[in-house]
Amino acid sequence: MILVTVGTQGPFDRLVRTVDAWAQQHPEWSCFAQIGAGEYEPTAMEFARTLDPNRFEELLQEARMVIAHAGMGTILKALELGKPVLVMPRRASLGEQRNEHQLATAEKLGGRGLVQVAMDEAELSERLAQIDTWVASKPIAESASPELLGALRAFFRQHLGEP
């Protein structure tokens, strides 16, 4: 199963429509889409507008791959489970977000090889055409970097004493 998710920041029809068009041609793949407040309703994918966090996690566990907006929550959860992730950033210039931070997220995490990135619908279609080549990465650690945890522990010790 492929999990498609646009998060909670309003519609992202460009993503849903593009994956749905691909899904129509590929009945061998089952897809589940969380589409938020989108106007476009998928015809070849099961869908829900919202998912409560616990249901979302269940679907994520089941999914073989994840196609999502470039939201950090989805990305972190998918990487924790070692699922291959393809993101397409929401664009403020198209009214999909308040600022262009998803563009930066996609570029930086894509640059580190953590996620695959499709900048627009054309690139998304190209990636979908090569879906058989997507490989699962090793799951990331379940917690923050040792450096960040250490900095927090030091601050807590300084202000609160030993735990």
């Binding site: 998060g7 909670t8 409560d52 966090p53 616990n54 939201g71 950090m72 929550g73 989805t74 972190l76 959860k77 600022n99 262009e100 931070h101 998803q102 930066a104 997220t105 570029e107 930086k108 953590l114 990331i140 379940e142 917690s143 923050a144 970097s145 040792p146 450096e147 960040l148 945890l149 250490g150 900095a151 927090l152 522990r153 601050f155 807590f156 202000h159 609160l160 004493g161 030993e162 735990p163």
Partner: protein, 155 residues
């Protein structure tokens, strides 16, 4: 008479939903040993942390003034009830408000700006600098001499 046992030091950890919450969860090893209460915007999160107190406040962002007031009221009540010794947040608006109130009470505060802000600090993250004793960004490129500082990331 039983000897008085000092209570464990208490941390209030605040995050709004989705990515902010997930980033906060990734900090939990650093919180071990303290008495930690959480505060977010979805009641469903309590199920993820059955052994902790999890408060829910109204979600808002700076563009909705009335919503911000409702969030502020919720945060103020949680602080009054919990009486934490330290307040920590990974954003966004609820966390910024929590740090603002915490600083007025003279409590130590920590702001970790979301890893989603790779090119500019979030609006709440910029404001939080005035109320955060430890003011962190997760991107070295955004670190400045007077803060925010870079000390690693949730990844």
């Amino acid at each position: 008479m039983s000897p008085k046992v000092p209570r464990k030091k208490r941390i209030l950890a605040v995050a709004s939903g989705g990515g902010h919450w997930i980033q906060l969860m990734r900090l939990r090893p650093a919180l071990e040993g303290y008495d930690v209460a959480f505060c977010s915007v979805h009641p469903e999160y309590q199920a993820q942390l059955p052994n902790h107190r999890v408060y829910t406040v109204h979600d808002s962002n700076a563009s909705h003034k009335l919503g911000v007031l409702r969030t502020a009221w919720g945060i103020w009540r949680v602080l009054r009830k919990e009486k934490p010794d330290l307040v920590l947040s990974t954003g966004a608006a609820p966390g910024g408000l929590a740090l603002f109130f915490a600083k007025r009470r003279g409590l130590p505060t920590v702001w970790i700006d979301s890893i989603a802000n790779a090119e500019v600090l979030s609006l709440s993250g910029q404001k939080a600098g005035a109320y955060a004793d430890l003011w962190l960004t997760q991107w070295p490129e955004l670190a400045r001499e007077g803060g925010p500082h870079y000390e690693g990331s949730v990844l």
